[in-house]
Structure formats: structure tokens, C-alpha cells
Symmetry: C2
Subunit: 363 residues, 2 copies
DNA sequence: TTGAAAGCGATACCAC
DNA sequence: GTGGTATCGCTTTCAA
């Protein structure tokens, strides 16, 4: 082996400079009670010796305890369950903190979400991980919480200008653009295409639409976009809209469903005998979608990597809270494009994991 | 806040049972010198109290030091540099270990690789991360090292039956299958397709070929596969082969380049005026490829996520070495499919990072 | 088989 | 401003 560099600690620095441990510590942490002269001297020798604090010892002494609330909807579970798992996994691996996680659930976005969020704020957690739905409604609450010193971390979407310390989501406009790309690769003749979305008041949904439309204009001039269909995440509404639009004269040959609420749309297609004839790009992955992808009835789906979102959200929150250094504030993940051919790598992420050898996103 | 559960430590258990710290420790770690009776008692109460060892204290006391060698080629740097970065990033975040990393480089696979590996083995590192090239040649060496107690972790490819403790790579046969899928989506009429590969003696390259061929047979009966072209990673050879095959009578309309050595092939296409007329799926992402993807001259590229490979490789190696529990042994990542539309999310991963807001794979 | 005590490295408090 | 010292929770050695 090479590099038998002796590892240096505060003690070594103190000894070398013939000063006390306390002084060294104060100097290193820029605390009051040191003369600028000795402070600089300590800093310089620390640098020179290549001093790195022993994180284990630091953690032990500081004995930090943090409370973090995770405020997310129960529905849609195939997205939020793995997201919560990502958070739990990260928490389990966290060394040197006494981390108390509080999972707070509400039925679904737009129903009980604000109340849950407001309640969480009042509990004065050190940090809160949440999904900002209707941004306008979240803004005042979030801003106040941030001012109160609560570290807010957004997942799934973002709430800019609220003082939140970070956000983790899939890159929304790129998601839309990929969908456009795929449809344009698979529809060679002039056609109409349609987009089914959820809540345009949620920032990310609007972004997906914009990305989709922009990419169509750029790279697929032969495809015409119909007005967006907003289902407000209500299955019946989505079904009705799909049924209707597919019976118009110039019915679309391509569809992008930008929300996980895709089954009603697919059901309508099925009933109209259009499944397989129309190119469909969906969002997320769940059990009912699997056979449709396998058989090619759904061309592709854009996987939003909920596990990774959860993992990164907590990781960055902890970096902020513990190492009080700002992490990468806005993380916008690349969605995974799932076709029938790579579907197998993601199947273990739905429902109970099978303990298989293959791990897809490592997430 | 809820859950003010007091955190229990060994001391609490000792106190509750009126025994000493030493005994509790011995019992918890199944060490000799405890009567079975007290051992069980301790274990039971620990369970009951929900005892979790304080990892920081444990790490501090144990004061473990590990040496890990990373034996990888310099070439191709756009793959191996980020891989090394992933390793460094993980190392920087490791708490409670004095980790000594030794990066050992050799020119390229097949030239100095075995020598470097052999030398590393003789140094008796605690662990070695390496890329097994020609499996047959690596096998005897690796098997011996494993028997000597060195923890071997493969990246980029695998070397089964060597006693290696794990492997991290992209799922090779799925990579091939995705390429086939993309070509079949973009070539609607009967055509020939060709595959350019590197070294078929490297396990993963053979797997890509198999996956490609199998998927073509399954989902693209209208596409015929020509005999594979093996460049042995030599640019001139790849160029020559490409030039030749593109001038045959029934020249292929689709190409899958399963190695990062794609530029010579693309150069040949360019010179023949075929760039843009032929559907090309490449591998990996590097600077010269960017404009070709942007303009649609290359349909897509399969990103092998080197950063993540490095991160996961060291993570799992450390789990094995420190927590002496077996991690997920074989990790086969899903490659990212990069089109012109999501290219922007990956550009910050080539060359110097720009400190932008967008982080693609989080890797 | 069990108990007592030292010590890992960094921090914080109290005395000077 | 600075020095000395107890302390965090766990492991380990030495005595009993």
C-alpha cells in the first residue's frame, strides 16, 4: 500500500502550535474568542496538514436530533409509496443523526392537502418534505413557514419564490418533449395528437404541456396538437373526455397522457377498438399498465423515478440541515423512458419487490 | 412533535438489567464470554427497547481504515472519468471510515490491464474495483484474489464464478433490446440492420449483441440482422468496416453501435453522405456526439450512467466491508435513452460541469 | 462469566 | 483570549 499519510486531528494541530484544543476548535469554526492572529495561524496549519474533521466524532459529540415531516397524498400510491420508501432508505443509512420521520398522509391532492400542510407547519418540525399542488394556495403558507425557519423541500413539483430550500422532481418540460419526440418517431404521416393532463395549476403539469407543444412545433411539423384535456385527476372525467375526442372527425392518432391517471383513457380506447392502432405515451408505471406495454398497445411510458426523488429529497434536506451548506437546490431528474424492451428492469419496482438480481434505476 | 421516545443505548440496557456494559456488548455481538441465559435476556430486552446502536459512536471507537484500489483504463475517458468521480463522491460522503483510495490507471482495455490488476492484487488492498475485460484471462487472477480475502467489485461488466462480491453495470442485453426497439420504431419497411461491437470476449458486449438480435426477432420481423462487426475498439478498424458495409448492395438502413467507439463509424457515414438518412443508435455520450444528436443525425444514444455505476460500486463495496452484510450482489442499471429532446439533461455530465441548476441522472 | 475503566476525536463549558 | 477537562455511546482490555 502507498500513502501512509498520518491522519491529523485537532489534537495534532494544537500540539504543533503549542496551543490548546479549545483554541483550535474556535479558530476552525470561526467562533468568537480567538485573536485573528492565532485564528489565521490555525487555519493555515490545518490547511497545510490536510486536516479533515472526523465526522463520526463530530456527530457523536453534537448528538444532533432532527424531526422531519413528510406530507404526501395516499393517492396515487404507486407513485407516493416508492417515494416514501426512498426517504426511508436514506433515513436508515443516515449516520450520526437521530432522525425522527413523521409521515403525514391525506387522501389526494386538492383534498385535505393544505390542511395537512398547515398542521405540519404548526408542529415546528426542523424540515418538511411536501408536494406543492396548487402553487398559489401553497405560496403564502410556505413563505411563512420558511420565514419561521422550517426547511422546506418540495418533491414532485416545485414552488419557487417561497423560500423553500430545494425541490426534486422530474424535468417536466423535457418529459413533455420526449413524449412529442416519441410520437413523431412513430407517426410518419400528417396527424393530430392530443394531450391528457391533470391539474394545470400544478406547476409541473403546465410545464409538461409546454414542453410537449414546443417540441412538436420544433421537430414534428406534421403533427397538430389539439387543445389540452384537463381531467383534474378525476377518472370519470378523463374517460369521458377520451371517449369524446376519439369520436371526432379528425381523431388523433397519437396521445400523450401526462399524468398517472391514464387507465380511464386507455379504457376508452379499448372500448372503441382503438387500442394498438393509436400511439400512446403514458406516465409512470403501475401494475395495470404492464401488459399494455408488453403487448405494444402503449408505446412507452415516462417513469418519474419516485424512489430516487424521495432519496434525493431527504439527502439534500439533511445536507442543508446538518452540514449547513446549501446543496444543489433544484434537482430535475431525467425521466426513464420505458418501452416493452426495458420494462423488465422496472417491474420489480411495482408492488412487492421480488428480491431479484436486477435492480433498475437503483431506486 | 410526537414520538418523544427516548433513545436507548447499551447503557440503558445494562442499567435496566443491573449488569455491566461489557456484558451487554458481548451479548449483542454474540461474542464469547457470556452465559447463554444472560445473552438471551440482553437480546430480548434490546429488541423490546428498540435498541439501535449509535453508528457514530461505533464508528468512532472502531476507527476502521480501509484501502481500496480502483483499476480502470484511462481510455475511454468520457466513460471512466465520471465513473471515478462517482467513486470519489461516495468516498467523500463516507462517515466513520478512513478510506484510502488508490486510483490505478492503464492505457486501455487489453493493453496493460491484466498487469495492473495483478499488481494491485499483490498490494493486498481490502477491496479492488475493476473492469473485467477478457473474462477468461481475468478469471484465474480474480479467483485467487478472492480466496486471499480481497473484496472484488466489478464495474462495467461482470466476471461470474470468480468469487467477486458484486458487480455493477448497465443491463447489457436490455441495452441491445432497446436499440432494436428504437430501430424498429423508426424503420417501417423491410430493411437490413447492422451492429458494430467492440470485444465480444468482454461479457457485456456479447450480451448486447444477443439482446439486440433477440429483440429484433421478437418485435421486428421486417428487419434483418447482418453479421456483427467487431472492431476490437480500434478506431481505424471500425471506420474501415463501416465504410465497407455501407457500400454493399443491400446496405443497412439502421445501425446499432454498442460501444462508445462510435465516431469512426459516424465519420464513414458522413463521408458517404449517409448521415441523417440512416437510423443510428449509439452508446454513451461525449462531446462530439452532441451536435449529431441535436440535429437528428443520430437518433438516440444509450447512456450507461458511469457516475452512478461508480457510486453504487463503492457504496456496495463499503456495505460489504464495513457492515459485513452482503449487499445486492449484481446490480444491472437501466440505461438512459437519450434523444435530442432530453439531451439537455445530460450535457452537464460531459466535460467540466457548469454548476447549473439541472442535474440529470443525479449522477 | 462478569465488572470497571480507558479511550476513540471533537466540542463546549468553565475557569483563568 | 486562552487552557483545561468532561462528555457523547460504544468497544475493549484487564481484573476479579
Amino acid at each position: 500500500m502507498t500513502n501512509p499519510e498520518k491522519i491529523v486531528g485537532v489534537k495534532d494541530i494544537a500540539k504543533a502550535l503549542h496551543i490548546s484544543l479549545g483554541t483550535v476548535d474556535r479558530a476552525l469554526h470561526d467562533r468568537p474568542g480567538v485573536s485573528p492572529k492565532t485564528r489565521d495561524l490555525v487555519l493555515k496549519t490545518a490547511e497545510q496538514f490536510g486536516y479533515k474533521p472526523n465526522l463520526a466524532a463530530q456527530a457523536l459529540k453534537l448528538n444532533r436530533r432532527l424531526s422531519v415531516a413528510i406530507v404526501l397524498p395516499r393517492h396515487i400510491s404507486h407513485f407516493f409509496d416508492p417515494l416514501r420508501d426512498g426517504i426511508r432508505t436514506t433515513a436508515a443509512a443516515a449516520v450520526g443523526v437521530n432522525l425522527a420521520l413523521e409521515f403525514i398522509e391525506y387522501p389526494r391532492l386538492g383534498s385535505g392537502d393544505l390542511e395537512a400542510f398547515r398542521k405540519a407547519i404548526q408542529e415546528h418540525y426542523d424540515g418538511i418534505i411536501f408536494l406543492p399542488g396548487d402553487v398559489r394556495k401553497y405560496e403564502p403558507l410556505a413563505r411563512k413557514a420558511a420565514q419561521d425557519g422550517i426547511a422546506l423541500m418540495c418533491v414532485g413539483s416545485d414552488a419557487p419564490n417561497t423560500g423553500r430550500i430545494g425541490a426534486v422532481s422530474v424535468h417536466a418540460s423535457v418529459s413533455g418533449a420526449i413524449a412529442a419526440d416519441l410520437l413523431s418517431q412513430n407517426l410518419t404521416s400528417r396527424s393530430e395528437v392530443a394531450i391528457f393532463t391533470g391539474e394545470l395549476s400544478t406547476l409541473d403539469h403546465g410545464e409538461k404541456l409546454r414542453g410537449f407543444a414546443a417540441a412538436l412545433a420544433m421537430i414534428a411539423p406534421h403533427l397538430t396538437l389539439r387543445p389540452a384535456l384537463e381531467s383534474h385527476e378525476r377518472p370519470r372525467e378523463a374517460y369521458r373526455q377520451a371517449f369524446e375526442v376519439m369520436q371526432t372527425k379528425n381523431r388523433p392518432n397519437g396521445i400523450y397522457i401526462s399524468t398517472a391517471n391514464s387507465m380511464p383513457v386507455l379504457k376508452a380506447l379499448e372500448e372503441l377498438g382503438l387500442l394498438g392502432k393509436i400511439k400512446v405515451v403514458a406516465t409512470d408505471l403501475f401494475r395495470e399498465l404492464v401488459p399494455l406495454i408488453e403487448t405494444g398497445k402503449v408505446l412507452a411510458t415516462l417513469h418519474q423515478r419516485p424512489f430516487t426523488q424521495g432519496r434525493v429529497a431527504l439527502e439534500n434536506l439533511l445536507i442543508y440541515l446538518l452540514r449547513d451548506q446549501k446543496p444543489q437546490p433544484i434537482v430535475q431528474l431525467a425521466p426513464h423512458v420505458i418501452f416493452r424492451t426495458n420494462l423488465c428492469l422496472f417491474e420489480n419496482q411495482i408492488g412487492q419487490s421480488t428480491g431479484e438480481e436486477i435492480e433498475a434505476d437503483f431506486c
